[in-house]
């Protein structure tokens, strides 16, 4: 069913957060679900929204707005939870909307340092310059890294 991927391209799940468009490598994404009631866990970092029940498993949910120091988002009909899997652990991330899956060839990707916008560059692997928009590609391991020391700077 899937068309052959070219050597120099990758598939990304593209979602919206605030006004920006982000991309996550599709291999890490398990599923995308609608918003669920989230149980807050007291005493955790503020970017951890809480936990949800994913078919009998309790998984943590990250609030990317707070993680990236963006303005607090509202929950709308298009709000989704992107469930990713890292080292056998499932983690949910609240996003403002998921639009599509795109193929991005490597030559479209630029190093994050050239365009600094929205979030700290330490979370990015690069920025893809598509025909009609910019897609910020996330470094999932960095995003989910707990207790990291760097202070986030809001540059924009």
């Amino acid at each position: 069913m899937a068309e052959e991927l070219m050597d120099n391209e990758n598939q990304y799940v593209v979602f919206r957060l605030d006004r920006e468009i982000y991309g996550l490598e599709i291999s890490a994404v398990r599923e995308i679900i609608t918003m669920q009631p989230i149980t807050e866990v007291p005493g955790t970092e503020d970017y951890i929204e809480g936990v949800i029940n994913l078919r009998g498993r309790v998984i943590p949910v990250f609030n990317l707005h707070r993680r990236f120091n963006l303005a607090e988002g509202e929950i709308t009909r298009s709000t989704r939870i992107v469930v990713v899997e890292v080292e056998g652990n499932s983690i949910g991330m609240v996003v403002d909307g998921v639009s599509e899956v795109v193929r991005i060839t490597r030559d479209l990707i630029e190093q994050p340092s050239s365009i600094l916008c929205g979030i700290g560059e330490e979370y990015l692997t690069g920025v893809a310059k598509m025909a009609d928009r910019l897609v910020i590609l996330l470094d999932l391991n960095r995003v989910l890294q707990v207790n990291e020391g760097t202070v986030l700077e809001n540059i924009c």
Partner: protein
């Protein structure tokens, strides 16, 4: 470096499982062998068989070193079985050493890497034992036969040195109608053949009668420490003639004297009794071959039957089954909620009713499935307890203590994950009991106790819990000493120490500073790592309690849930969230008026039946401070108790009691103060589980 074994991974897996069983058998049986005074043929056979099977299967898979060691071991065991060797502590030590070596060799297979274990040492010991027919060195054996010469001169009475036990046995046997004979045989053979002749004669005698004692002993005969006479004390139902007849049939006997054993000899030998070696175990000789065959086949039949009815299952499979059932349990509740919604919308039509019936059926099957899978995960604690007798034996030998270790309730079943968790705390408590609890034999005698300390490990079922108790009759924990030590370490002030009851003072040993700081042997020794013990137990929703009386001993009582995965909990609401409090920690729930709250040291307390109970407001713990206006007039208080400490948890309301499936919060959330995990409620939402021990500790500090 790999082992290059001659077996497929599947075969190895089966081999490893079998090997573990045989190791277990050997360990238990060797301990029994050491304890039992009488020669137990069935036991000996079982030990021999286990070792023999090990030899066979290790050779089959091509583990040559293992085969070599078991082969040497089997040679020694064979001699033991045939009574050509006597059981002694040194011999048991060597056999245990073999077992330890075998375990290392087994691990080679698991790690697929050759260990640097050298077998020369143990093989040397084994062959020395086997060849000598006794333990090589350091033994006081029966006085050499030369001492008899003088006896012979006086009154021509045949004499033999006897120990207390042997005399006891003779007295008992006489009461049962057996006759004790003492016999002296003189051999007429070349000196080189004396040992062989003496041995054959002794064997022949033992077929007819029980040989209580012989001079020289079988050991000495194997050492070739023989003269041309053999004196033996026999117990038999038959008459003197039978013995003489037998002796007459034996070749190379030059002279034979036989007498009924007389009491006055007993008196004479009293003083020398202690010096005589106890190892002469040539008792209860029976028709060996016949019995052996019978015992062997009987055991085989039983195990064959068992094997057909069980299947080995991977633990991971059981774990994932348990998870799946957990999901079914949640869906069951959801189904009923959906059904309720349907009813609310409209009158129940045909389809809805059908759905209702099916839901009820699914619910019933789910409940049964849950119970059955929980049962499948249960193991008798025996699997864990099995390693303790050996451990206690080694520990007490090292510490120079005499300990009688008794275990009961090994058949009690527990979830295997709990069994895994509880092992270390139990080892710790047993070690403490042997090291520090039980006094040295001299000290015990000085206090008028028996020199052997009693150590009891007991498991039992109590409602929805398993209780494990460890009880010793040692010196106990002195609350005064604990108080002093805690003050010295700056853990509590003198003022606080005075106010503690003795029981509370004893509980101080669970404080972390007290235990790890200086290995407090002065505090009845029970200090090392007790905080770790308690933490481990509380981590699995268990509780530990101490009862100790100075001079009389200490009892640790551990209360454990049947399973880790599912517990009973009280659901309470705090603000908009629902929290679960494990029922095992709750003593009662109380409704109170706000004005009943009093303040001590600026902390909220209430007085319940004359006792002051500190309060913790869960709302302020979990969501920051509570403003005055928010406080309601009526309070719900859940009283929790852990290790003797009571605290009242203030909640907004009680929701109900139910079984919950415990889920971890995962590493991304990590350790959260006051929360031990999460669970999924019937409506699919997640509730957090309150970590009571953490809250109590926080309240205490």
């Amino acid at each position: 470096m790999g082992l290059n074994l001659d077996a497929s991974p599947e075969e190895l897996k089966i081999f490893l499982e079998e090997v573990e069983e045989h190791f277990q058998t050997l360990e238990e049986d060797l301990l029994r062998l050491e304890k039992e005074d009488e020669f137990n043929e069935d036991l000996m056979q079982e030990i021999f068989r286990a070792s023999h099977t090990l030899k066979g299967s290790s050779a089959t898979i091509g583990h040559h070193r293992m085969a070599e060691l078991t082969h040497a071991m089997e040679n020694v065991l064979d001699k033991l079985r045939k009574k050509q060797l006597a059981v002694s502590r040194e011999l048991i030590d060597i056999l245990f050493e073999c077992l330890d070596h075998l375990r290392i060799l087994r691990d080679e297979i698991i790690n697929d890497e050759k260990s640097d274990l050298e077998l020369e040492g143990i093989l040397g010991k084994l062959s020395a034992v086997q060849k000598s027919g006794g333990i090589p060195a350091g033994r006081v054996d029966i006085q050499p036969p030369s001492s008899k010469a003088s006896c012979q001169e006086s009154e021509r009475k045949i004499e033999i040195d006897l120990t207390w036990e042997e005399k006891d046995r003779i007295h008992n046997a006489v009461e049962q109608g057996l006759k004790p004979y003492i016999i002296r045989l003189t051999f007429d053979v070349e000196p080189e053949m004396l040992a062989v002749r003496a041995f054959v004669t002794l064997m022949a005698l033992s077929e007819l009668a029980e040989v209580v004692k012989s001079q020289p002993t079988a050991d000495e005969i194997e050492h070739e420490k023989v003269s041309d006479t053999l004196v033996a004390l026999l117990l038999t139902e038959g008459e003197e003639e039978k013995i003489t007849k037998l002796v007459n049939e034996l070749p190379s006997i030059a002279g034979c004297e036989i007498q009924l054993y007389a009491d006055d000899i007993v008196r004479k030998t009293d003083s020398s009794a202690e010096t005589v070696n106890e190892a002469n175990n040539l008792s209860e000789e029976r028709n060996q071959t016949g019995d052996q065959a019978k015992a062997g086949s009987a055991v085989k039949n039983v195990s064959a039957k068992k094997a057909n009815r069980t299947v080995r299952v991977d633990v991971d499979l059981l774990d994932s089954l348990m998870n799946l059932v957990g999901e079914l349990v949640i869906d069951r509740t959801r189904l009923f909620q959906i059904l309720g919604n349907l009813e609310a919308i409209d009158e129940m039509d045909e389809i809805s009713q059908d759905l209702g019936r099916t839901s009820i059926h699914i619910a019933r099957v789910t409940t049964q499935l849950q119970e059955q899978i929980m049962k499948a995960r249960m193991l008798p604690v025996e699997n864990l307890f099995n390693k303790f007798p050996r451990m206690v034996r080694d520990l007490s030998q090292k510490a120079g203590k005499e300990v009688n270790f008794v275990m009961t309730g090994q058949e009690t079943e527990l979830d295997r994950s709990i069994i895994e968790e509880i092992g270390d705390p139990l080892i710790h408590l047993l070690r403490n009991a042997v090291d520090h609890g039980i006094e040295s034999p001299e000290e015990r005698r000085a206090q008028g106790k028996s020199s052997t300390g009693q150590l009891k490990l007991q498991a039992s079922h109590e409602e929805n819990h398993i209780i494990i108790t460890i009880k010793d009759d040692g010196r106990g924990i002195d609350p005064e000493q604990v108080r002093q030590s805690a003050i010295k370490k700056g853990l509590i002030t003198e003022e606080q120490a005075k106010r503690l009851t003795d029981k509370e003072a004893v509980n101080l040993i669970f404080m972390s500073g007290l235990s790890t700081a200086t290995r407090v042997t002065d505090v009845s020794g029970r200090g090392v790592g007790m905080d770790v013990v308690r933490n481990n137990i509380e981590k699995i929703n268990g509780a530990i309690e101490i009862n100790s009386v100075v001079g009389q001993g200490t009892e640790f009582k551990i209360k454990l849930p049947l399973t880790l995965a599912i517990i009973r909990a009280l659901l309470v609401s705090i603000g908009k969230s629902v929290y679960a409090i494990p029922l095992s920690t709750i003593t009662e729930t109380i409704r109170m008026q706000r004005k009943q709250i009093e303040f001590v040291n600026n902390r909220e307390v209430i007085v319940v039946r004359g006792k002051v109970l500190p309060l913790i407001r869960l709302k302020s713990v979990f969501s920051g401070a509570v403003s005055e206006e928010e406080q309601k007039e009526k309070l719900f208080i859940v009283v929790v108790n852990l290790a003797g400490q009571q605290v009242g948890l203030v909640v907004d309301s009680l929701v109900g009691e139910q079984e919950i499936v415990i889920k971890s919060l995962g590493k991304y959330i990590g350790d959260v103060q006051g929360i031990s995990g999460a669970t999924i409620l019937g409506d699919g939402s997640v509730a957090l589980i309150v970590d009571v021990s953490n809250l109590i500790k926080k309240a205490a500090s």
